[in-house]
């Protein structure tokens, strides 16, 4: 019964607040209710009124009415505090499962400004900020990635209890854009294709990687990561380690290298391997069923690989 009503309510809210990366808060989408403290405040007013009646004390009547008016004014002020605020999802970040993934939002205040606005979302630490009238403020909400793939919060709650904390006005922004959540890296077992000879596979590959590299002079377009900077320091020659001429595919991380292992787990292994390669600064490629990424180096490449792992066989939410 309760779940039925709560689903009805959710549906209603979702109809009212469609997905969008920008939301302007106004009468149509702000909800307002007293907080716990507000309810107690109401009880206090009733007790005060009873005291006034039984003691026939005009000044207590006056105090009751004053505080009652403050409460009514607070309804207005709390609502106004949120009303006119425009919240835009500027950037949905990327990160690993289990990490906080940054959603960068820009809050632009209307004419009145917005004080003590709280952003919250399941799996994210609450963020509180103020915006000066007519200005904007960038805030980052770190949402914990729960599973590999696209991460799009169902809704981010925007709440304010200012000025007195007796009322809460809230609304939601339901972002359209998604963040990307990379598979959680897990140390890969030694079953990786290249690690046959029993030695530490990392070491072996390192050696191989360097040995198979062909050294050639630097030419325009080479990645700076490939320049042998030690050599430059030694004799001033810009020399680039080039693997393209190397034997076959020096280091191609392969989805099929872990037979019998669960797909998600394979992706986690690959994720760890990508990170290891990235930290060693060796080139690598990635083979996924349906997607091949040629060996390369650099942050952009690493990100591309991790993204590929993250969204492999995931559809971007509509």
């Amino acid at each position: 019964m309760i779940s039925f009503f709560s689903r009805q309510w959710q549906d209603w809210v979702h109809r009212r607040i469609p997905r969008a990366d920008t939301r302007r808060f106004n009468q149509k989408n702000i909800f307002i209710l007293p907080t716990g403290a507000g309810v107690v405040f109401g009880v206090l007013l009733v007790v005060m009124l009873l005291t006034a009646i039984n003691y026939q004390n005009s000044l207590i009547y006056l105090t009751t009415f004053l505080l009652g008016t403050v409460f009514v004014g607070a309804i207005h002020q709390t609502h106004q505090n949120l009303s006119g605020l425009v919240l835009t999802l500027v950037q949905a970040g990327e990160g690993f499962v289990g990490e906080g993934i940054a959603f960068r939002l820009r809050a632009a205040a209307g004419k009145r400004g917005a004080v003590a606005i709280r952003l919250s979302c399941p799996g994210a630490a609450e963020v509180c900020f103020h915006v000066v009238p007519g200005q904007s403020e960038d805030v980052t909400l770190a949402v914990r990635g729960q599973a590999r793939g696209y991460l799009r919060p169902e809704r981010i709650r925007v709440e304010t209890r200012f000025p007195f904390g007796l009322l809460k006005a809230w609304s939601w922004i339901r972002p359209l854009s998604s963040a990307v959540c990379y598979p959680r890296p897990r140390p890969a077992p030694e079953a990786l294709a290249t690690g046959e000879d029993g030695d530490d596979p990392q070491l072996v590959r390192d050696r191989q990687g360097t040995e198979q590299a062909e050294l050639r002079p630097w030419r325009e377009g080479d990645l700076s990561a490939r320049v042998l900077w030690k050599r430059v320091a030694r004799d001033g020659q810009m020399v680039v380690a080039d693997w393209r001429g190397g034997a076959g595919q020096p280091d191609r991380l392969d989805f099929d290298a872990f037979p019998g292992v669960d797909h998600e787990r394979r992706l986690s292994y690959l994720s760890a391997l990508v990170l290891a390669r990235a930290s060693q600064g060796v080139p690598f490629g990635l083979n996924l069923p349906g997607e091949r990424i040629e060996p390369d180096l650099g942050a952009v490449h690493v990100r591309r690989c991790l993204r590929a792992l993250a969204v492999w066989r995931c559809d971007e939410p509509a």
């Binding site: 969008a20 990366d21 920008t22 106004n26 009468q27 403290a37 107690v40 405040f41 206090l44 007790v47 005060m48 009873l50 005291t51 006034a52 009646i53 039984n54 003691y55 026939q56 004390n57 005009s58 000044l59 207590i60 009547y61 006056l62 105090t63 009751t64 009415f65 004053l66 505080l67 009652g68 008016t69 403050v70 009514v72 004014g73 607070a74 309804i75 207005h76 002020q77 609502h79 106004q80 009303s83 006119g84 835009t88 209307g110 004419k111 004080v115 003590a116 103020h130 209890r161 200012f162 000025p163 007195f164 904390g165 007796l166 359209l176």
Partner: protein, 686 residues
């Protein structure tokens, strides 16, 4: 919660913003002010120490006590409190318990929840304070405290807001000003129903004032107080000073040296608070008394009055009583019947016995004097002779009477001859009774100085007086005031003149403005303040059931309580509706005000209708390009429109003008026409 855990939290009590805590403490201290004289000193000291402790902990200087020490402190203080209260339950004790609770709460004010608990207790304390004091200045103090509380809430809800304090006060001020008309309307129209049930007395402590026993010298300490007892407004002429005898109670039983009431005061169940003090203009024979709280049921009245308002009734001995002790200011009305009551029947045996009662022994010389007087003179002449004796022999009226511990009447009449009104009234009653004339002591006030513009009289504690009433056959009870014979100035113009030579007027009360009558400015200020308070008391504090009905009956339509209820409910409803409407109307208008923004939206809508996808973040140029691709015929105009929009938003040197806006609007309608023309064109094509 484990102890370790607790101690860790004790180490970091600064989760609450210091500013908020500071303002809450300030509110607490301000709220203690109106109670400074009724709270036990130890309680105030303890509260200040505990609040100081919390503050030092906030600054990281000390640690808050752990759970066990805290429990210890709590148990100790509550035990002390219970011992000091000793079973009485009044609002006074409840208020001091509130104060104690706040004091203890300081030690565990750790999070927002605690903060709100304190806020609620303090807000209620502010209204409890109104039970004790209703003067306008104290009301302002209380409202200031409420303001501090509300600012503290704002600080706690936005601790890191720059300039939060100033904006907090500003916001509160705005809220107050906007809400004030609403508050006034509700205050005037909210139906003042009668009390729903009886409530405990505000205070169980005896206030300074007359008491129901009289020892010689008792009243002289009241003479050192300039506190106001009541104010009187007369509908007709104000009686002469010497006729202003305000009768309060009668003492008729002499117990050793002490005068008491026969049988003592009866214990009666507490009645509900009644404020029916009469309404409408005063008739010429009526007068209205506004009595400060006395915690007694006595109403002070001139001789020969009858009750004219519903909140007091007449009892025997021509006195008036309230159904409930006056624990808050009471307004009541009386009517002068013109003539003192002449009794139809003589005193019966019981009454004679009662008013002739004397102790078996003591004061032999006074008894001898009485016997000699009674032997040669009739009752009326005995009284006259006694007064002549007081007038002619060197008796002195003094605020510094000598101690007369034994046979006080003899000592006063024959040896010392120095005393205050209580001495002389006691001695006179003694002699009259010894002479066989029924007599009794009346206690009350005599006199009253005029307020600003002679609007009303102010009677103060130093006007306290005791005099005698003697029963003379055929005349009934007759007032006999020995003080009038000894110090006529006391009765003609008041205590100040009566003790002017002695210089003892208010000598132990150097802060009373009444003491410095010769400083005109001070006197003027004091009277002006009194008038403001009087009006405040009458129109705001005293605005209760009957006076509301009175006001309403002057409005057309004749509103009853029920109509008032509907009116208030309707008013509140309409007010809320208006508020909602205002905010509803205001918000879209704000969006509308920006004409360019509206144009932009219309432009986006137009593109959407033409089948161009509009994504957030698209610039007008992007849209124009895409529109030109799908609908080439509108491309040029679209690009022109995009240029205009861009120059408005991104070229600050271009002045924003309405002609500029009009041009853009025209361009937009051209695009619209072009698009429509194309559509109809394709529609007509085979």
């Amino acid at each position: 919660m484990s102890r370790r855990d607790d101690r860790q939290r004790g180490r970091q009590p600064s989760r609450l913003p210091s500013q908020g805590l500071l303002w809450l403490m300030a509110a607490f201290i301000v709220l203690l002010l109106p109670q400074w004289d009724r709270l036990p000193a130890w309680l105030i000291a303890v509260c200040l120490v505990l609040a100081g402790w919390r503050w030092r902990a906030q600054r990281g200087r000390v640690r808050l006590p752990g759970r066990l020490p805290r429990m210890g402190i709590m148990a100790l203080l509550i035990a002390v409190y219970i011992a000091s209260v000793s079973g009485r339950f009044t609002v006074d004790t409840a208020a001091s318990f509130f104060v104690l609770a706040v004091g203890l709460k300081w030690l565990e004010t750790r999070n927002h929840r605690d903060f709100y608990v304190l806020f609620f207790i303090l807000a209620y304390l502010a209204s409890v304070n109104f039970l004790f004091r209703q003067e306008i200045l104290w009301a302002l103090v209380n409202f200031l405290a409420l303001g501090l509380l509300l600012v503290a809430l704002q600080v706690v809800n936005a601790p890191d807001l720059p300039d939060g304090l100033a904006s907090g006060w500003r916001r509160l001020g705005g809220l107050f000003l906007k809400g004030l008309p609403f508050v006034i309307l509700v205050f005037v129209f909210f139906p003042r129903m009668g009390p729903l049930w009886t409530v405990p007395l505000v205070s169980g402590h005896a206030r300074s004032g007359l008491s129901d026993t009289l020892r010689p010298g008792d009243i002289s300490h009241l003479a050192q107080s300039s506190e106001r007892v009541f104010r009187v407004t007369f509908g007709g002429a104000v009686p002469a000073y010497r006729d202003r005898y305000w009768r309060g109670l009668v003492l008729d039983y002499l117990d050793g040296e002490t005068w008491r009431q026969t049988g003592g005061a009866p214990v009666e169940p507490l009645a509900r608070v009644a404020t029916d003090g009469g309404v409408g203009p005063l008739a010429a024979t009526e007068y209205e008394v506004l009595l400060e709280p006395t915690d007694r049921r006595w109403a002070f009245a001139l001789a020969g009055s009858e009750a004219a308002s519903g909140n007091l009734f007449e009892v025997e001995e021509d006195l008036f009583r309230f159904p409930r002790p006056a624990d808050s200011p009471v307004r009541y009305r009386l009517r002068l019947t013109g003539l003192p009551k002449v009794p139809g029947t003589p005193l019966d045996a019981t009454q004679r016995h009662r008013y002739l009662q004397l102790p078996e022994q003591g004061n032999p010389r006074a008894r001898a004097l009485a016997a000699s007087l009674a032997g040669r003179l009739a009752d009326t002449d005995v009284v006259a002779e006694l007064l002549t004796r007081f007038r002619q022999q060197p008796y002195f009226y003094t605020l510094r009477p000598p101690a007369m511990p034994e046979n006080g009447v003899d000592a006063l009449l024959f040896d010392q001859r120095r005393g205050f009104c209580a001495h002389y009234a006691g001695a006179t009653t003694f002699v009259l009774r010894a002479a066989g004339i029924p007599a009794r002591i009346v206690m009350g006030y005599q006199g009253g100085e005029a307020g600003v513009d002679d609007e009303y009289l102010i009677v103060r504690q130093y006007d306290a007086h005791a005099w005698v009433e003697a029963w003379l056959d055929g005349r009934g009870w007759v007032r006999v005031d020995p003080t009038a014979a000894i110090a006529p100035a006391r009765i003609e113009s008041g205590l100040r003149d009566a003790v002017a030579e002695e210089g003892s007027f208010l000598e132990s009360n150097p802060f009373s403005p009444q003491r410095y009558r010769d400083i005109a400015l001070l006197q003027w200020a004091s009277l002006q303040l009194d008038r403001i308070n009087y009006q405040w008391q009458r129109w705001v504090v005293g605005y209760q059931g009957q006076s509301q009905m009175d006001l309403m009956s002057r409005l057309p339509g004749g509103l009853g309580l029920r109509e008032l209820g509907y009116l208030t409910a309707g008013g509140v409803g309409v007010g809320l509706l208006a508020l909602g409407l205002v905010s509803y109307v205001r918000s879209p208008r704000e969006a509308r005000r920006d004409g360019h923004r509206r144009l932009l939206e219309a432009w986006q809508a137009l593109c959407r209708r033409a089948g161009v996808e509009v994504r957030p973040g698209d610039t007008p140029d992007d849209l124009a390009k895409r529109l030109a691709r799908t609908r080439p015929e509108a491309g040029d105009t679209a690009r022109r429109f995009a240029r205009m929009i861009n120059s408005h938003y991104y070229n600050p040197s271009a002045p924003a003008s309405s002609s500029d806006l009009r041009r853009m609007r025209r361009t937009l309608s051209i695009i619209r026409r072009q698009l429509r023309g194309h559509r109809t064109g394709t529609g007509n094509a085979p």
